[in-house]
């Protein structure tokens, strides 16, 4: 990510040639202020691109929600609000610790800086742990992107620890073990620097499992106590079943309706192929064109034309079963894209924060030079802020 690159500008050069400027000031800058301003402006611009990067997803969300509000109402009940709220709190707290770290770096309180950065990483790890539980729970239920969506309200529950969760946790486990190893090696070999870097990172990695534990506990409680709410959801999902029809049949409902009453074909065109294409309800282009032609014909014939017959084919469509891969599935596509991209940003943030932690342990920062902490802080706040938007948009609807 760019952050690392930007922040390294002030990195002390180990050149042996003599300098008339402090080690943290890069050669091409005149003063620490200029360097700091450049870095800060660069970071802000990068954040602008980040916002725009997410904007595509927010756009997709907004368009789809305005077109299919019922899908959102149906799907958001599968998102565990409790877990989402906890994650929101955790991230908000991490923003506090991050801001504190920046302040501590300015005041040259090196120990506080290290502690606050470690706390920030720990919060990020908890967030990821909870997120892993949420994801794996949904994968078990078949709540997947449109192409793989396979949710079945009848057989939704699964027993025991999720295999997906175990698979996700492999990497954090390896990281944790490696960090513990590094810590022990540092202590044993007397490498104080290594040990004091590894210790806070170990704590942070362990926090991932705290998050997982918390998530599993709350998710199972929700599954047990909140069975009613799920049943309610299933009832909504099973609108089709109530009619005594299989869900697939319900889905085809509007299509059948459409084929029974095809638009008048052949006005002005007399083309067989157009008629065949128009028989396919998904070919909305041809159908709307034919509708327009028909309206034109009526108008030309002098017959009374109703301005608006009160039936908008889009908004007044018959109720469909939303539990299908082309409706609920798309919601989960958007859900995974948004939260997944956000999680990638969290992971990148952890990487940059770890690098920052090492530098803080090395006491690189001083009242004249705290740019990198500040820039990473800005990045971290934006990641937090995006989650602040994602949480209500995805969890608190319906």
């Amino acid at each position: 990510m760019a952050t690392a690159e930007i922040d390294q500008d002030g990195h002390a050069h180990d050149h042996s040639d003599h300098h008339d400027h402090p080690a943290f000031l890069a050669h091409h800058f005149d003063s620490p202020e200029q360097q700091y301003d450049s870095g800060k402006l660069g970071m802000w611009l990068f954040l602008v691109t980040e916002i725009l990067f997410f904007s595509g997803l927010f756009c997709a969300y907004a368009i789809y929600r305005s077109l299919r509000p019922e899908v959102y109402a149906f799907c958001s009940q599968f998102l565990n609000t409790e877990l989402g709220a906890i994650n929101t709190g955790v991230l908000l707290f991490s923003s506090l610790t991050m801001a504190w770290a920046v302040r501590a770096a300015q005041l040259e309180q090196h120990k506080v800086t290290v502690g606050m950065i470690a706390a920030t990483i720990s919060c990020a790890a908890i967030f990821l742990g909870v997120k892993a539980v949420e994801y794996s729970h949904k994968w078990d239920m078949g709540l997947l992107p449109a192409g793989m969506y396979s949710y079945d309200p009848v057989a939704e529950h699964h027993e025991g620890l999720s295999h997906y969760l175990i698979a996700i946790s492999i990497v954090p486990s390896i990281v944790l073990i490696a960090l513990i190893g590094l810590f022990i090696y540092g202590k044993a070999a007397g490498k104080q620097f290594l040990a004091s870097c590894a210790a806070p990172l170990t704590v942070a990695a362990a926090c991932y499992f705290v998050g997982v534990g918390l998530g599993v506990f709350l998710e199972s409680r929700a599954a047990a106590a909140g069975h009613d709410s799920h049943a309610e959801g299933s009832a909504l999902a099973a609108i089709g079943h109530a009619d005594g029809l299989p869900p697939s049949k319900i889905l085809e409902g509007p299509l059948d309706h459409a084929t029974e009453d095809p638009p008048t074909i052949g006005i002005g065109t007399g083309d067989e192929a157009v008629g065949i294409m128009a028989a396919d309800a998904t070919n909305t282009g041809i159908r709307s064109e034919l509708d327009a032609l028909r309206a034109q014909e009526e108008m030309a014939s002098g017959a009374f034309v109703d301005e608006y017959d009160g039936v908008d084919p889009f908004y007044d469509r018959p109720i469909e079963n939303v539990n299908s891969n082309s409706l609920a599935g798309v919601f989960f596509s958007i859900y995974y894209c948004m939260t997944g991209l956000h999680a990638i940003h969290i992971i990148a943030g952890i990487g940059v924060l770890a690098w920052l932690l090492v530098r803080a342990v090395r006491q690189d920062f001083c009242s004249q030079y705290f740019g990198p902490v500040d820039y990473v802080g800005l990045y971290w706040h934006i990641v937090d802020l995006i989650w602040i938007y994602l949480f209500p948009l995805l969890y608190l609807i319906g």
């Binding site: 760019a2 690159e5 930007i6 390294q8 500008d9 890069a26 050669h27 091409h28 800058f29 005149d30 200029q34 301003d37 450049s38 402006l41 660069g42 611009l45 990068f46 602008v48 691109t49 980040e50 725009l52 990067f53 997410f54 904007s55 595509g56 997803l57 756009c59 997709a60 368009i63 789809y64 997947l144 992107p145 449109a146 192409g147 793989m148 998904t282 282009g285 891969n325 082309s326 409706l327 599935g329 798309v330 596509s333 958007i334 995974y336 894209c337 991209l341």
Partner: protein, 466 residues
């Protein structure tokens, strides 16, 4: 030009270059293994259903996008924070204004393409159903996203060309640029307007009538700042002392070609004519007049202009001018017939054509060969100068901007200390020095300080005596 030692983030700059290489490798990999049959636009649902390696190609473009963003970011920060003392915004060379506007577009538009391509990749891998109509997706949404980047992208290409032409016009006419502020601000205006006109690529994609009308109207507004630039360049040449050097030949060629390209754009921006001309050779020709005749010719002019500064070698002026002439003739021979072809209904992207189009097609083909010959001559002139060229003086054209004040090629870190900045288009104190075949900066003539103190007014004298 800016007088800074380096860009603000040198490592990010290098990172951009490596990212560019990696992205290019991905893209070439896609081209070499299966090829791409989606067209350059990757329109869904072609791109979600084809069997060719769309993922490799879009990953490549995604990475290239990051390279572009980082470079844009770097330029913005450098221009903002690293100008030398005395260089206010309105004392910057116009090329920098153009680069600055370009960087703004890069930073603001490219992320949108990034997320679009990422969604496209997800669409292929997991069928997320955002663009794929099979899962309720909307292919036109892809077109909107795509053109939201890709229209500003053409301004990414043309704006630096505008900047180059502003420099060439002024330096080779040895006359201060006309309407400095207008040219500078019109670059920014183009950058901002470029975000509002993407819909004109989609007039026939089934947008609502009102949308097409709005986009058409917005499209015409772009012509205003572009015209401001062209008229200011003309006014710069007026009564100037024009040297017909190679860069100037290219710049004049640019003026001619870009004006044709710009004016034909008006036909395409008009809804009614666009319906007729959509996807015909007319569009192809318009695009090439702006992008090839505009961008490429301006870039060639720029290369010839700064070549002595970059390499420290002078090229052969005669052959340089010949190359400019051949490129100009070849270009018009290639693309002028295509306007006629297009308006008579020759669609683009077809390998065959009706017999009545044969003559014009042949003309176009011959023109393409002439154009190729011109480019080869230009390349040869430049390469030859590397081995046999004369050593370039400090200021071969008589430019007033900062880069002409340091040696050719410039030393490491350019300047010992931040240079003194004056008006970048002030040519009064630059004179040709025949002895060194160089332009030199002359000091203003200084009046000798009078040896005796100036006579004091009478009453002061009187007071002294008292």
């Amino acid at each position: 030009m800016l007088g800074a030692k380096d860009v603000a983030f040198p490592r990010l700059n290098l990172c951009s270059f490596y990212l560019w290489c990696i992205g290019a490798i991905f893209f070439i990999f896609a081209l070499c293994t299966t090829g791409l049959d989606t067209g350059w636009t990757f329109y869904t649902p072609y791109s979600t259903t084809t069997s060719t390696s769309v993922i490799a190609a879009t990953t490549g473009v995604f990475i290239l996008g990051f390279s572009s963003i980082f470079t844009g970011l770097n330029f913005i920060v450098t221009v903002n924070t690293m100008r030398p003392p005395g260089m206010t915004w309105f004392k910057m060379p116009l090329f920098l204004w153009a680069i600055y506007s370009t960087a703004v577009i890069q930073v603001l538009a490219t992320p949108v393409l990034g997320i679009t391509l990422l969604l496209l990749i997800c669409e292929r891998l997991m069928h997320i159903g955002i663009f794929d109509p099979a899962y309720n997706g909307d292919p036109v949404a892809f077109q909107h996203f795509f053109w939201f980047y890709s229209h500003p992208a053409v301004y990414i290409m043309i704006l630096p060309a505008f900047g180059i032409i502003s420099e060439l016009m002024s330096v080779h006419s040895h006359k201060s640029i006309f309407g400095y502020r207008f040219i500078a601000l019109s670059s920014i205006a183009i950058a901002l307007l470029s975000f509002l006109v993407w819909g004109h690529h989609m007039f026939t994609s089934g947008m609502s009538e009102i949308t097409t009308i709005i986009f058409s109207a917005l499209t015409f507004t772009v012509s205003v700042p572009s015209a401001i630039k062209v008229f200011n360049w003309l006014a710069t040449m007026y009564k100037g002392s024009i040297s017909l050097t190679t860069p100037m030949c290219y710049a004049l060629s640019f003026m001619f070609l870009f004006t044709i390209g710009g004016l034909t754009g008006l036909f395409l921006g008009t809804l009614t004519t666009d319906l007729h001309l959509h996807d015909t050779y007319f569009v192809v020709s318009h695009f090439h007049y702006v992008m090839m005749g505009g961008t490429l010719v301006a870039f060639l002019g720029g290369v010839f202009h700064w070549w002595p500064k970059m390499t420290g070698k002078m090229f052969n002026e005669t052959w340089g001018r010949v190359s400019a002439l051949v490129v100009f003739i070849g270009f018009n021979l290639t693309f002028l017939p295509q306007f006629v072809l297009g308006s008579r209904g020759m669609p683009r992207r077809y390998a065959t054509y009706d017999p009545e189009f044969t003559g014009l097609h042949r003309m176009s083909t011959v023109g393409a060969f002439v154009l190729g010959l011109g480019l080869v001559i230009a390349l040869f002139v430049l390469l030859y100068s590397l081995y046999r060229g004369k050593k370039a003086p400090r200021n071969p054209w008589g430019g007033a901007t900062l880069e002409w004040r340091c040696a050719s090629p410039p030393p490491y870190y350019n300047f010992e200390r931040p240079p003194v900045v004056g008006n970048p288009y002030y040519f009064e104190n630059i004179e040709y020095d025949a002895k060194s075949d160089d332009y030199v900066f002359t000091e203003p003539e200084r009046k000798i300080v009078p040896p005796e103190p100036a006579p004091q007014p009478e009453h002061v004298e009187a007071e002294k005596h008292n």
